[in-house]
Symmetry: C2
Subunit: 337 residues, 2 copies
Amino acid sequence: MRSGERRITLADVAAEAGVSVACVSIVMRGAPGAGESTRERVLKVAQELGYRPDSRARLLRSGRSRLLGVVFDVRHPFHHDLLTGLYDAAGAAGYQLTLSAVTPRRGERTAVGDLLQDRCEAIVLFGGNMRSSELASIAARLPVVAMMRSARRKDVDVVHNDDALGSHQAVDHLVSLGHQRIAHVDGGTVHGSAERRAGYQEAMRRHGLAEHIRVVPGGAAEEDGARAAEKLLVDPPTAVTVFNDLSATGLLDVVRRNGLSVPGDLSVVGYDDTSLSRLAHIDLTTIGQDIDGLAARAIERAVERIEGTPSGPRAVIIPPRLVVRTTTGTPSGPAGR
Amino acid sequence: MRSGERRITLADVAAEAGVSVACVSIVMRGAPGAGESTRERVLKVAQELGYRPDSRARLLRSGRSRLLGVVFDVRHPFHHDLLTGLYDAAGAAGYQLTLSAVTPRRGERTAVGDLLQDRCEAIVLFGGNMRSSELASIAARLPVVAMMRSARRKDVDVVHNDDALGSHQAVDHLVSLGHQRIAHVDGGTVHGSAERRAGYQEAMRRHGLAEHIRVVPGGAAEEDGARAAEKLLVDPPTAVTVFNDLSATGLLDVVRRNGLSVPGDLSVVGYDDTSLSRLAHIDLTTIGQDIDGLAARAIERAVERIEGTPSGPRAVIIPPRLVVRTTTGTPSGPAGR
DNA sequence: CCAGGATCCTAGAACGTTCTAGTTGCCATG
DNA sequence: CATGGCAACTAGAACGTTCTAGGATCCTGG
């Protein structure tokens, strides 16, 4: 019961089973070169002793670790959903994941540094604010896949959602409901906000609504949405697309407190389809990212790089889809003013 | 720029600097036994070559990994807050964290299994539904600290919030506002719900309100709170304490949809102080757990076990604190019926 | 001029695996 | 009755570190 016992090793199993260490190694790996009866006996002994292979020693020798490092941000709910998808995809490809978290007091560089020491064969990075040149210097050592961000570097793979298309879907949806005066609350300096903003602007022009284009400064947090709402209320549009769900939640709150009804007076579309947007009394129409698709493609890119198979383009862009809930409806005024 | 280069090792640095491998090791570890000039030269060369110690090889030799395994659930927002605290506490104690996530498709046993292979020196478990006996069998191999759950085993350390006290604080707060008819929405089979329920009952009795004790079945999810609300509405109390914030959110939604005002007609207290409860339009009065305290004590327990220092009691219970927001107020009826 | 002790450095084993290059024993074949 | 071949196993090096046990070199004091 004491915990300091000493770890059970191949040698222990070998001694107990009366065979060589090498033979046990063969059996444990399921490699050819061992007879059926010894195989059974060795497995039984290993089981009894509670043997667990030491992955570190294993990879020290074999060079391969079949380990993929993942950097995620503890504060971002979407990252957690994505982790779920990544575990599945990695497992299917025969790789393990090793996680390193970014927290309010633990930066991205620290998180990456830890992974570098861990001998993983590739690194998957969620968003973050590293510069492309920093990514490149990591990519010089091992394959890097950046998710939910772009990188103007040929040596970094990029897998993300088609932000511009998402904005198009949001605007198309609102226009099909009859809206014309559609504003956009921006995401500031966060990755993807430029693309979402540009997509909004282009979609508006495509619908001949260039004169109604209106971009309000915002950000990724709830308060950013709340502040944007106050600006909008001076001269409210009939609909608004917001950078993300959290910001949209802040906006919703201020709008309703000011006596406007949603979607009666104002339709609101978020972005990300986080669990927040699914809460009953938020029930936000939003743009959902294809989590499993993103995860699968990211792992695919990483594995291709690791195994040196000639791969396709370095950027994979996945289409999102509109999720209609109850914050969007037809505009109340006959023609939106 | 190719990624398959071959890792830079101590030997490379040694050759380049014209010293022995052992000497470089000394310098890299900051151990005594190297002259100032060589120290500088070696560090410079290591820097130039981009040397990074291979933590796996290091710990293979040294036995110690200074690595703490953490099992957390991707779906639980509270776990993420706790991770932040744990990273800080572990860093301060000179340990690294290695994370293993539980996801909807990746169970606790898998998560623990991965850590066991990783040579960490102790395991910290967040909640979960493993049986005490399973915990004990892991604890036979290495120290286990269970957080946010209890374990009737002497060989497992336990660090959690004082659930009963939290319920007392909630009831005390409501009573001090003048409430008498205070109900409780239960958490079902989730860890801590029995303690929170018992705490509620005891606090009610302490205030001489035994006749008003009313426990409604619930759970940890939003819908559980919503369902409980429907039951409560048949004969509404003036206040309710809910198992957790998420459930409270569901309850709030149903209550408001049915035309009751909060806190006018009904005061609501949640539990956990998750980021959800801080959202402007939820703004839930709740019981906050002391995250940094929990994290610090958990690491402390783990390190004590690892280093074999004679430690105190195996269970550490940390008092929570009431966080008053806007979902609680004085009851509207003169004496709450 | 030599003993004694610092100070700086090195050789080589060890950690728990994997892997290459055998070695053994057995059976079939000519 | 040698020979070849195959299946089943083993010895020992290797992976990149740490650590123990020394070996130089130099200074200091008698």
